[in-house]
C-alpha cells in the first residue's frame, strides 16, 4: 500500500472527488453502457439507477460511461443522459471514431452538457480536427489513454504521456492541457492477455508518483479476453469483478469496470478493498478517509 511523495491532485468533477493519496477518497467506478444495436434505454435507466443506489450505499462514486458507436445514436444517447441522470451529475462519453467524437462534442455543447462531461479519451490517435473541436467545445475533464505501441511497459506509458513517444508532436498531458482541459485522468491502458497486460497495474503507482494525477484503468478487459477462462464460465464473472481490486491496491483512483450490469458485484468488492486500504494507510501514514469513504459509511 502506497503513499506518494509527489503531491496528488484531487479533482472535483461535478461534486465527485477523484485522486489524492490512497485511503482518502473512495475509488470512483465507471460502469459502461455499450448500446449494441438499437439503444435500449429502459434497461439502461434501470441499470443506472441500480448503480447509483450501490454508489449511495457504499460511498464509491459511480460514473456512467456511454459508448457511442453510430452517428444516428449521438442525439438519442445525449438526450437520454440529459433526461435520466440527476441534475449536474457527471458522465463520460466513450468513443473511438474521431468523426463521432467531433459530432458528439458539438451536440454536448448545444445541450450545455460539457461541464459534466468526461471525455473518454485522448490518445496518440488524436487528429487535428479533433484538437480544434476540443479547443472550441472543451469538456470539463478528459481521460488520457497511455497506450504506447512502441513500449507497453510502465516506462513506455510514461514516455507517451511525457513526449508522445515520437508518435505525435507532444506529450499527451501537455497536449491535453493545451486544449484547455485541466482535469486529467490517466488510463494506464490494459493490454490483451500475453501482451504485458500486468503493466497497466504496475504503471499506476509509477504514473501517480511521476505526475500526481488521478490514475486507473480497465483491467476487466484483460479478464474478458482471457480465453482460458471460458472453461470456468460461472467463475469468470467473479474473476472479472475481483480483478478490479488491483487498481486501488496499487494506489489507483478509478476503475473502468466494464458492463454496468457488473456493478452489483464490483461495488462491494471495491468498497471492501477501499476499507482495507484505509485501515492501513490511516494506521501507518496517518491518512484520514473522507466522510463519504466506504470505511465511514459501512464499517461502524
Amino acid at each position: 500500500m502506497f503513499s506518494f511523495t509527489k503531491e496528488q491532485s484531487v479533482f472535483d468533477i461535478s461534486e465527485i472527488k477523484i485522486g489524492g493519496q490512497p485511503g482518502v477518497y473512495p475509488t470512483v467506478l465507471f460502469g459502461g453502457l455499450f448500446f449494441r444495436g438499437e439503444p435500449e434505454f429502459d434497461n439502461a435507466e434501470k441499470q443506472i439507477q441500480k448503480m447509483l443506489y450501490l454508489s449511495n450505499k457504499t460511498g464509491n462514486p459511480a460514473i456512467p460511461d456511454f459508448f457511442i458507436k453510430k452517428e444516428e445514436n449521438i442525439e438519442k444517447i445525449i438526450n437520454f443522459i440529459e433526461k435520466t441522470l440527476p441534475k449536474n451529475y457527471p458522465f463520460s462519453i466513450d468513443i473511438i471514431e474521431p468523426d463521432l467524437k467531433i459530432k458528439t462534442l458539438e451536440y454536448l455543447y448545444k445541450k450545455n452538457l460539457l461541464s459534466r462531461t468526461i471525455y473518454n479519451s485522448i490518445h496518440v490517435g488524436i487528429k487535428n480536427e479533433e484538437r480544434e473541436t476540443l479547443k472550441k467545445y472543451t469538456p470539463d475533464s478528459a481521460i488520457i489513454v497511455a497506450f504506447n505501441p512502441r513500449d507497453k511497459s510502465p516506462d513506455g506509458k510514461i514516455e507517451v504521456l511525457d513526449n508522445g513517444a515520437h508518435l505525435i508532436d507532444a506529450g499527451l498531458i501537455a497536449l491535453t492541457k493545451q486544449l484547455g482541459i485541466e482535469k486529467i485522468l490517466i488510463d494506464t491502458a490494459a493490454m490483451a492477455p500475453g501482451d504485458n497486460s500486468g503493466a497497466s497495474i504496475a504503471a499506476i503507482p509509477v504514473i501517480k508518483e511521476e505526475y500526481g494525477l488521478p490514475t486507473g484503468c480497465a483491467i476487466h478487459n484483460v479478464v474478458e479476453k482471457s480465453k482460458w477462462l471460458e472453461e470456468f464460465k460461472s467463475e469468470k464473472k467473479i474473476v472479472d469483478a475481483s480483478s478490479n481490486i488491483n487498481i486501488p491496491l496499487f494506489g489507483g483512483d478509478f476503475v473502468i469496470f466494464g458492463p454496468i450490469e457488473n456493478a452489483e458485484m464490483v461495488f462491494p468488492i471495491i468498497a471492501w478493498q477501499d476499507i482495507l486500504i484505509s485501515e492501513y494507510t490511516q494506521n501507518y501514514f496517518g491518512v484520514n478517509p473522507e466522510k463519504t469513504h466506504p470505511r465511514r459509511k459501512l464499517f461502524k
Binding site: 473511438i96 496518440v124 489513454v145 515520437h166 508518435l167 493490454m191 500475453g194
Partner: protein, 298 residues
Amino acid sequence: MKNVKTTVVGSYPINIDNMELMKGYFEQKNISWNKYIDSAVNDMISSGINMVSDGQTRDSFVNIFTRKLKGCRIRGRTEIIDKVEYNGPITLDDQKYIKNKIPNSTQLIGLITGPYTLTKSSVDLFYNDEKNLAFDFAYALRQEAIELQKYVDLISIDEPFFSINLPEYGKDLIRIVTSNLNCPKRLHVCGDVSNIISELLDMPVDILSHEFKTSPKLFNEFKKFNVSKNICLGSVCSDNIKIETVDEIMSHIVKGIEVFGEKITQLAPDCGLRMLPRNIAFQKLKNLVDAGEKIYGG
C-alpha cells in the same frame, strides 16, 4: 556488382497510422509492428538494395537498445538507474522475421548502436563514471551481437559520437562488441571524422562507413593514409530532401574509386534515412542502385 553491395546504414522512414494502432488497442488485439518492418524492408528490396536492414522502425536508434537493456529506463532521454546488463534479445525477433521474408539473394545487416553512443545519449544516474558505463554497454551489446550473427550477413556498429570525441578506450569498446563474431563487421561513424582516421583504420572491424557525400573533404583526408580496410562509401545525403541524380552519384563513386579503388565494397546513403520523407528516401536508394550498377555492372 559481384564485389560491391548496395546497402543502407540503418534507419528508414515509415508512415505510422496511430489511429489504426489505437483501434487495435481498443479491440484488445495483440499489436504487431510487422506491418512497419515490412514497409521499410519492402521499399529497400524494391529499390534494388542488395543488403537490407530492419529499418529501425520501432524506435530511435538509441531507444531500441536502451528500452530493453537492464539498468536503463526511457524518459525524455534514456536514464541509467542501475547496472547495465543484457536482459535477452533486443532486435533478434525482427531479424528472424525479416530473414524469412527476404529473397535468398538479399543479404541482411544486424544493426547495433555502439556503446559509446549509448553512453553519451543517456543521463547517468547510477555510475557517475562514463568509462564504466560504456564498458557495461559494450559487454551487453556483445551478447546481442553473438545472437544476431546467426541470422545476419554483417553486423554494423553505429558510433556517431566518435566523430565528436573518440575516447582513448574507444577501440577497446569496439573490440568487446566484435570479439568472437564470425560474420563481417562494419563500423559506421557519421560526421567529420578527418581527425580520427588513423584510429578508425585501427578499429577491429572489416569495413568503415562514413559520410563521404556530405563531407567530400574526407576523400583528401583518407588519401593521406594507407587504407587497409574495406569502405562503405556514403553516396547520397541522408539529411537533405534534394534527390541526387544517377549521374551525380556516379561522379561521386568515381571519386571514391580514385581514392579507395577496390577497397570500396559497399555503396550506401551517408547515414540513416529516418528523417526524410519516404518517397524521397526510396528514390535516393533507387538512384544509388542505378548508379552502382552502371559503374560496377548489374
